[in-house]
Symmetry: C4
Subunit: 327 residues, 4 copies
Amino acid sequence: MQYRRLGRSGLQVSELSLGSWVTYHNQVDTKGATEMLAAAFDAGVNFFDNAEVYAQGESEVVMGQAFKALKWNRLDYIVSSKFFWGLTRESNTTVNRKDTLNRKYLMQAVDGSLKRLGLDFIDLIYCHRPDPHTPIEETVRAMSDIITQGKALYWGTSEWSAADIRAAWEIAERHHLHKPVMEQPQYNLFHRKRVEQEYARLYEDTGLGLTTWSPLASGLLTGKYRDGVPAGSRASLESMGWMREQLQDRAKNAAVGQLAGIADELGCSLAQLAIAWINRNPRVSTVILGASQASQLHDNLGALAVTPKLTPEIVARIDAITQPLAS
Amino acid sequence: MQYRRLGRSGLQVSELSLGSWVTYHNQVDTKGATEMLAAAFDAGVNFFDNAEVYAQGESEVVMGQAFKALKWNRLDYIVSSKFFWGLTRESNTTVNRKDTLNRKYLMQAVDGSLKRLGLDFIDLIYCHRPDPHTPIEETVRAMSDIITQGKALYWGTSEWSAADIRAAWEIAERHHLHKPVMEQPQYNLFHRKRVEQEYARLYEDTGLGLTTWSPLASGLLTGKYRDGVPAGSRASLESMGWMREQLQDRAKNAAVGQLAGIADELGCSLAQLAIAWINRNPRVSTVILGASQASQLHDNLGALAVTPKLTPEIVARIDAITQPLAS
Amino acid sequence: MQYRRLGRSGLQVSELSLGSWVTYHNQVDTKGATEMLAAAFDAGVNFFDNAEVYAQGESEVVMGQAFKALKWNRLDYIVSSKFFWGLTRESNTTVNRKDTLNRKYLMQAVDGSLKRLGLDFIDLIYCHRPDPHTPIEETVRAMSDIITQGKALYWGTSEWSAADIRAAWEIAERHHLHKPVMEQPQYNLFHRKRVEQEYARLYEDTGLGLTTWSPLASGLLTGKYRDGVPAGSRASLESMGWMREQLQDRAKNAAVGQLAGIADELGCSLAQLAIAWINRNPRVSTVILGASQASQLHDNLGALAVTPKLTPEIVARIDAITQPLAS
Amino acid sequence: MQYRRLGRSGLQVSELSLGSWVTYHNQVDTKGATEMLAAAFDAGVNFFDNAEVYAQGESEVVMGQAFKALKWNRLDYIVSSKFFWGLTRESNTTVNRKDTLNRKYLMQAVDGSLKRLGLDFIDLIYCHRPDPHTPIEETVRAMSDIITQGKALYWGTSEWSAADIRAAWEIAERHHLHKPVMEQPQYNLFHRKRVEQEYARLYEDTGLGLTTWSPLASGLLTGKYRDGVPAGSRASLESMGWMREQLQDRAKNAAVGQLAGIADELGCSLAQLAIAWINRNPRVSTVILGASQASQLHDNLGALAVTPKLTPEIVARIDAITQPLAS
C-alpha cells in the first residue's frame, strides 16, 4: 500500500481506504466490522470513512466499538464523519436537523459523532452536501470553529460545486479561518466530469484533495448486472428500486462486457480494473472502497497490483469504451 | 406550521413562536409553563423566547425546569436570552449590572442565564437595548467571544437603530468576529416604521432577520379595550398605569373596531388578523406570541390559517385603517 | 459616590477607589482589610486595586480572604492586579520573574494572582511598568490571550509612555486583539505632566481611561511633613529613607502651607483638597486612595463633597501655588 | 552565568544550557539526570533542551521525573521539545508519525510530550526539521494553535532554511498567528555558514533567536579523535559508524591540533575554547551543551570564563585555522 497527501495538506492517506460498510441495512455487525477493519489495517489501509447518516448513527457506533477492541495507536488511523442529512429517527421533526449546514446543527452533530465513535477528535469532517439555505460563511465559520475547539483536524466538502468550494476557501482565507482541504466526490468510469473538468482549477489554486466514493458505480462495474438483476444483490432489494434502472442500463452493461475483455488480458477482475483506473489519477488522494465482506475487500485491494499495468494504451482503450457513456 | 430562515442565517425558526409567558407577575407557574411549551411544540413552534430580565430571572428558571421535564432533543428547539437591564433585585447597586452592554456585565450575565436555564448553550443571545455608554466594539467583541466560547450560537440586537446595527455588523466584519444575525423589534399594525423603513437596507446588506414582539400592541389589537379597561385585564393593574392611556387611545380603538369588521369577513378573531398581517411580511422570521393561557395560544396559532386569506385588496383595506395611526 | 466610565470602555468605576492597603509592611491584616473593604463598599467604592508585587503576593491573599468573607455579588465589584516586578521571595533567581512582561512570566503570573485572590477572573490587569526588553507585540498578545482565556476582562498599563501605549493600541488593532483600555499613572498636584501633557492625544485617539495613584504624593500633600518627619510616619522608617528627602522638600512643603489656607477657606482637610482636585479632572476615571486606617479612608472619601466647591477661581489659585513645582 | 533574550522575544535564557543527555543509548538514568540538572541549575542554567525523538520519548520521561524530584518553581526553568521524527517504536507504521509536520502529528505529539514530561505546558516547541511535504501554512497554524491552547509558550524551528523560516514568519504575520521566535541550528567552528551567512537578514527582519547544538562537532573539537578513534568513545560504537569518517577527517583534526595551542595559551581546554567562541557571537541566545557526565558539564561551563579572553586577535587566529574547513 502506498500513501498520498490529502491534496496539498500534509496528511498521508492510504491509496485505498475503507468506508460505509454498515450502510446497507446493517449487513455487518461489530464483530464483522472489527475483522474487516483489522484486515484492511493489516493491508495498510489507514483511512476509515464514516458519516453521521450512515445507518442513522449506527455505523459510527459500530466503528467506535471496533476501534475500542482494536486498540490501535491514534496516530496510525484516520477517521472521518460527515454532516448534512442528520439523524431523523430520533425526532419527529426535520427542522434544523436534516439537509442543513447551519451552525446549530453542525456544532451539535459533531458532538454526537464524537460520542458515538468514542473518540476525542475526528480527523476529517465533511459537509456531506451543499446547503443552499445556509450562507457559506456560516458553514465555514462553524467548521473552522470545530477545528479550533480541537474536535476535528481538517475539514472539507462532499459533492459541492467548484464554485461553492472556492467560495468557502476564499471566505476562510479572508477571515483567517481554517480552510477546506478535501472534497469527497463520486468518481468512477461512468461518473467523471466533476473530478476531471469542474474541479480542474481547484487542484492548483486551493490544493484540493479528493477522497472518492462509488468506485464500482454501485456494483455496475463488477459486471454482475450484465444479465439482469441477480437474486440477493443489492439492486434486488425492494428499497433499492430507484437504483435498479440505472444498474440495468444496456449501453453501460455492454461497455462493462468490453471492459471484461481488458480485465482478462490483465489477469484481474473487473472491480480491480475499475479501482485501478481511479487510483491511477494523481488528483485522487484515496479511493474509498465499500466492501461488506472480507473476500470482497481482499479482491478490491488487489487493484493495487493492477495500477502499474495501466499503460497509456490500455487507458486509451478503457476510455474509448466508457467516456461516451460517462456523466 | 412553516419555518423560515432567521434572516440570511441557516437557522430555521417557526413562523410563530412563544415568549415571555412568565413576565407578567408570574401568572404562569412551572406546571403551566410546561403544558404551554408542550402545546406550542406539538403545534410546531420551535423557538422559545426569553430574557434575563423577565421576572428577574425567574422566567429562565421556569423555562429551564420545563425543558428538563419535557426532555426534548436539544436540536429540536431554539432558546433565546437577552441582556441589558440586569438583575436588580439581587443587589443594592445598579452599577455595571443595569442598562449596560459592557464586557463585565455580558460575560457574567450569560453564565447566569445558562445556569438558570440548565443548558450548555443558548441558541440566540440578544443585546436587549442599545447602550450609548459602551463602545459598540466592546459589545460586539463580548458577544462574539461568548459564541467562540460555545455558550451561544448566534447573536443579535433588540430595538437598536439601523445605524447601530450596521456599525456592529461592520466592526465584526472588519475584525473577523461573529456578526450579528437578528434584531428583535416591536412590530404590529400600530408600530411599523422601524421595520418597514428604518431597517429597509439592512435586510439585503447584512441579511438581518427579525423576531418581532408585541404583535397585539399590548392587547389593544384584541379589541378588549374598545369599551374601556375591563376589570382583571393587564391594564387594570396598578403597576401598569403607564400603559393604560395608550390602550385607551380613542382613534386606535376606533380603528380596531373597523378591523373587527374585516376579521368577521375572514371568519377569524381580531388577534388572528393582527398576527397574520405580521406573518405576511417576508422580512419577519418569526412572530413571538405572548400568550399566558393555553386557550389564548391556540387562538393565536389560528392566525396561520388566516395569512393565506390576506389578499392584496384586504391588506390595502387594513393599511388604510391603521397606517395613519401607526408609529 | 458617582461612577465614571473607565475611559471609553463601558465599565463604570467609582470616582474614588481603594488600593494597596497592605503594601506597607503589613499594617493591615485580613480582619482590618475586610472592615475597610466593607466600609469603602458601603460608601459606594466598587474598584479595589491590587498587584502581584504588593507585599509579595500577600496583598492578594488578604484581599481574597476579605472577598470570601464579604460574599459580595461578583458583578458589583471590580478587582485589579498588575504584573511586572514578580514575586522575588519565592526564588533565588530573578530571571523571567522580575522586571519583565514576557509571555512566560505573564501567563504564569496571572494564574498565581487568580489563585491568591480566589477568583475565576480579574476585572482589570495591568502591565505594572514598561519592559524595554520585551517587544510590545509579545506583551500585547499575552495580555489579549489572557482576556480570550476568560481570566481577565480588560487590560491596561501603568506608567507607560504615551508612545508605548499608542504602539500597544495600534498593534492590537492591526492584529484584531483586545486593545489596552486604561493606564495607571501617578497623578497629584506635584506630578502632573504625563497626565496633562504627554497623554493628551491618547484620550481622544484611543479612549484611554486613567486610574490614578499617589493622590497625596506619599503624604506630602497632607501637610504632615511641613515641620520635618514626624516619628512613626512612613518616612521615618529606615527602609523608606529614599523617600525622606523628597518628602522634606522645602519649596513643596511651603506650597502645602499655602494650600492649607485654601483648605481652611473651603472647610476641608488638605488631603480632601488634593483628592478633590484630581477628581475634578474629567480624564481621571478613578482616584485610587491608599488608606491604611478606616478614619483615613473616611476623611479621604469626604473629598467628594469638596469637588463641587472647586470653582475656576479656586483652581487658578491652587495651580498658581503648585504648578511651578510640579513634575 | 549571564542571560540573553531569545532573539527579539522577552524570554531570558542562560548563555549555556543543557540538552539531550539521554540521547546516547541511555547513558544517563533518572538519578544521574536529576543530579546533572541540579548541578546545571545551581550553576545558573535555566534552559533544558529536549525532543520527542531523543531516546524515543524516554528522554522526556527521565527529565519529567527529574523535574518532579527537583520541585523547582515553574517560572525558573525553560523546557523545550521538538517534533518531526516521531516515535517509531510504538507502531509498525511510520505514516503520519515520522518525518512530518502535519497537523495530525503535531497536535497529538505535543500531548504525548506533555504527558511524558508531566507538565502543563512546554516553554519552547520546535519543528525539529523542515517537512517539504506539508505546507508551511499548515505547520504554522498548528504550532500557533498549540500556543493558543496554552500547551506551549513560544515556537520555532530547527535546521530550517532561511527562506522557510521567513515564509513561516510572514504567513503568521498575515494571518495574525503566533510567529516563530527561534531556530535551533548546528553551530560550531567547523559548521558556520548557515548561522553567519544564510540567516543574516533574519536577525534584524524577524528578530530570530538561536539555540545552537553540537558546539563540539560531535566531540571532534575536544581533540579526542586526533589520534584515531579511542575505544569506548561514541564513534567506536557500531551504530555510529556513519559518524566515524568525519570524526577522523585529517585536515580538521590537524586544525584541532593548532587550536590546542591557543587553548594552552589561554589556559583552557579545547572544549572550553570551542564553546566560548560560540558564546561570543551575539546572535546566539544560548549554546546547548550535550554533557553526559557531571565532570564534562563542569568543564564545559568553564567556557564562560574564557569568552572574555577572546580578543579580536585571538579570534582572528582561530578563524584563520578553522574557517577554510568550515561548512
